[in-house]
Structure formats: structure tokens, C-alpha cells
């Protein structure tokens, strides 16, 4: 259990993912726990991981709190629906769904650039040439700025395509509670590529949101009795330690190589999840 959390924290922080993609397969495939218990445990571990990272990102001023709160208005209903749905969906179908999402994540990790951790970003983001006006947006001052150490300057940006963000956040909430993942797989690309949020701010805001979304999902799993303190205790202790080590290692390991290796590994895990669904293993 402790090893699972350590690996999830380590790899998760190095790749900018929550850790659910690692925790759920290990708990179900290696430790043979029921998938609903694995998902509930994963959600609590994700809260621990997200809170640790969110503290650092928010202190650095990269989190857009207003945007995070606005998107949470649709993410939380999604998380509640996903949590209730997971209780009624057959474990084999949940495993198959998880396998499908794993394949998507594996493909994204191997081929796309946006799945790289914040520490490895060199500043390839949109920034406004002119200061943004408070009245630019119907949602109020949905603009933000932060100091970028790499560029040694303050970056200002304006959030766009908010209805699209609200819709995809609802979907990410459902997937988070249904499969025990953070939802960053959806939030980060949408915020960065569609809503015009710089990558670093997108990752920070996504992590801020993940903490609340995963906590909401975990409450629903607690309602159904799928939260076991003795499974979660070693997981959350080790995931926080792993995340700390991961942040240090990120500076020394090549993100692109790591991402591709992990992508291939996830693809193999997805195949195992399908084999489990088919009761071959």
C-alpha cells in the first residue's frame, strides 16, 4: 500500500498528474481490492497530493482562484453524479471504462506536448501585450497575473471561452468520481488550449480544483461505505513523501523521456484492466 502511494506521488508530481492512474490499477490488479474501494481510496490520496501541490502553487501566485471556483460550480455536480453512478455500475464496466481512459492518457503522454509538468515548461504560453480591463468579461475580473521565474517578468492573461470550460469541467467531475482520477487530464488541456490560460497557471488552477472535486467524490464513496481508513493511511502518508521526492527529481530527469516511458507503461496497464474485465486474469 505504502509502495503504491510512493510511486503515485513520485510519478504524479514529475508528470503533473494526480496519481489515480497509478493507484487504482495497483490496488485492483496487484492487491485485488474491489474497484469501488480502490477508487474511493484513490480519491482521498489525490486530495492529499493535490493539497500538498496546491499550497506551493497558490503561494507562488500561479493559481487563478476565481476561475477555479467558477469551474467548480459544474465540476462538483459532475463529481456527485459520478460518485452515485459508480455505486450502480458493474465493477467490470468500471474496469473497462478505466482501461479506455488509460489508453487515452497513454496516447496523450506519448504524443502531446501539453502533458508536461509545470517545472519543465519554458514559458510557451499566451500573455497579453496590453493590460487587461476588469470589465472585459461577463464573469467579472476573470483575469490574473503571476510572476514567472523563467522569464523574470509578470505575466497577465485573460480567460476566454468560459461556457466551454464549464461544460468540460462537468465532464471532468463525472470522470473524477467515476474512475478515481483527478480530472487534470481534461482540465489542463482545456484551460490552456481553449480558455487561453498559460500552462503554469492552468496546472496550478487544475490542482486547486482537483482537491475540492476529489474531496466531494470521496464524501460520496464514504456514503456508500467504500472508504477504509487502514487502506488510506499508508497511501496518503507515502503519496505526500513521493510527491516531495518527485519535485526534487523533476529537475534531474528528462521529462519527455519519462513521459513516454510512463505512457507505454499505462498502455500495458490498460490491457491488463481489459483482461481483468474479460476475467482472463
Amino acid at each position: 500500500m505504502a509502495g503504491t502511494g510512493l510511486i503515485a506521488g513520485l510519478v504524479g508530481s514529475m508528470l503533473g498528474v494526480g496519481g489515480g492512474f497509478i493507484i487504482v490499477p495497483i490496488l485492483t490488479l496487484a492487491l485485488h481490492l474491489p474497484i469501488q474501494v480502490a477508487i474511493g481510496s484513490s480519491l482521498v490520496a489525490i486530495v492529499a497530493n493535490a493539497c500538498t501541490a496546491a499550497g506551493t502553487y497558490t503561494k507562488a501566485g500561479m493559481t487563478n482562484v476565481k476561475l477555479g471556483l467558477l469551474l467548480e460550480t459544474t465540476t462538483i455536480p459532475g463529481a456527485i453524479i459520478g460518485g452515485f453512478a459508480a455505486a450502480f455500475i458493474a465493477p467490470s464496466i468500471l474496469s473497462a471504462l478505466f482501461g479506455l481512459v488509460l489508453i487515452y492518457v497513454a496516447y496523450t503522454m506519448v504524443t502531446r506536448r501539453h502533458f508536461i509538468s509545470a517545472d519543465n515548461q519554458s514559458g510557451d504560453y499566451l500573455h497579453l501585450s496590453e493590460p487587461v480591463k476588469i470589465s472585459d468579461n461577463m464573469y467579472g475580473s476573470l483575469t490574473d497575473s503571476y510572476y514567472d521565474q523563467n522569464l523574470n517578468k509578470v505575466v497577465s492573461y485573460k480567460v476566454t471561452h468560459i461556457p466551454t470550460g464549464l461544460g468540460t469541467s462537468f465532464l471532468s467531475g463525472i470522470l473524477s468520481s467515476l474512475l478515481g482520477i483527478g480530472g487534470g487530464i481534461i482540465n489542463v488541456p482545456v484551460m490552456h488550449l481553449v480558455m487561453g490560460v498559460p500552462m503554469k497557471a492552468a496546472i496550478a488552477t487544475s490542482i486547486f480544483m482537483i482537491a475540492l472535486t476529489a474531496a466531494t467524490g470521496a464524501f460520496i464513496y464514504q456514503y456508500y461505505g467504500n472508504i477504509y481508513p487502514l487502506i488510506i493511511a499508508p497511501l496518503i502518508i507515502s503519496i505526500v513523501i513521493g510527491a516531495r521526492i518527485g519535485v526534487e527529481l523533476t529537475q534531474k530527469v528528462r521529462g519527455l523521456v519519462l513521459r513516454r516511458i510512463f505512457g507505454i507503461l499505462l498502455f500495458l496497464v490498460a490491457i491488463l484492466m481489459f483482461l481483468k474485465t474479460a476475467k482472463v486474469i
Binding site: C51, T58, E72, I236
Partner: protein
């Protein structure tokens, strides 16, 4: 003019970000401390090999300390929504008071379900 605008945005968001950051760091520290203490108590009382993961609180009362730690952990993100409501109330930003209250109500629904 431009520098002033950037500085103003940064300062306005700064206080809320400081509060939220403090909540995350203090919350995770308290939660982890309780979970570690509970786990040590459990190992000391039950022995490491005798711990069965799929047991409920009624079966092992010592796990209550761990459960309190987990509950605090899950409440950390909820508390930052409350902090946001306070911040936006001080700023008289009605739109974001409403948004924060809506988020808090939604989170409260799931919390009430968990506690029942």
C-alpha cells in the same frame, strides 16, 4: 499605467491566495500528523501483521484517530471555499460571493451525505 494595472491585480488576488495557501499547508500538516499518530497507535496495539485493511471503525476503535485525520484532509478544500466567501465579502464582490456560496452548498450536500 500598465505597470500599475498589473500590480493592482496581483495585490488584489494576493491576500486570498495567501489565505488559501496557508489553509492547504496547515490542513495537510494537521491531517498527516493525525494519520501518522493513528497508524503508529494501531501498529503498537494490533501489531503490523495483524492489521487487515478491509475493516470498519467499529472493528478497530484505534482507527478513529486516522479517520479524524482523513476527515480534516477532506475538509481542507471546503475551508478554502469558506475563506473565499470571507475574502469576496470584504471586497463586496457579489458575483463571486454567490459563486463561492453555490460551490460551498454543493460540497456541503456531499459532506452531509458522508456524515450520515
Amino acid at each position: 499605467m500598465r505597470d500599475k494595472t498589473v500590480k493592482k491585480i496581483k495585490v488584489n488576488e494576493g491576500r486570498l491566495k495567501n489565505w488559501v495557501s496557508l489553509d492547504f499547508r496547515v490542513g495537510i500538516a494537521i491531517s498527516l500528523a493525525l494519520v501518522v499518530i493513528g497508524f503508529i497507535m494501531l501498529v503498537y496495539i494490533s501489531g503490523f501483521k495483524d492489521i487487515q485493511p478491509l475493516v470498519t471503525l467499529e472493528q478497530i476503535p484505534a482507527a478513529k484517530v486516522i479517520s479524524i485525520g482523513i476527515l480534516i484532509l477532506l475538509l481542507v478544500p471546503v475551508i478554502q471555499v469558506i475563506l473565499s466567501i470571507i475574502h469576496f465579502s470584504m471586497k463586496r464582490n457579489r458575483l463571486y460571493i454567490g459563486i463561492s456560496v453555490a460551490v460551498l452548498c454543493l460540497a456541503a450536500i456531499s459532506l452531509v451525505l458522508a456524515l450520515t
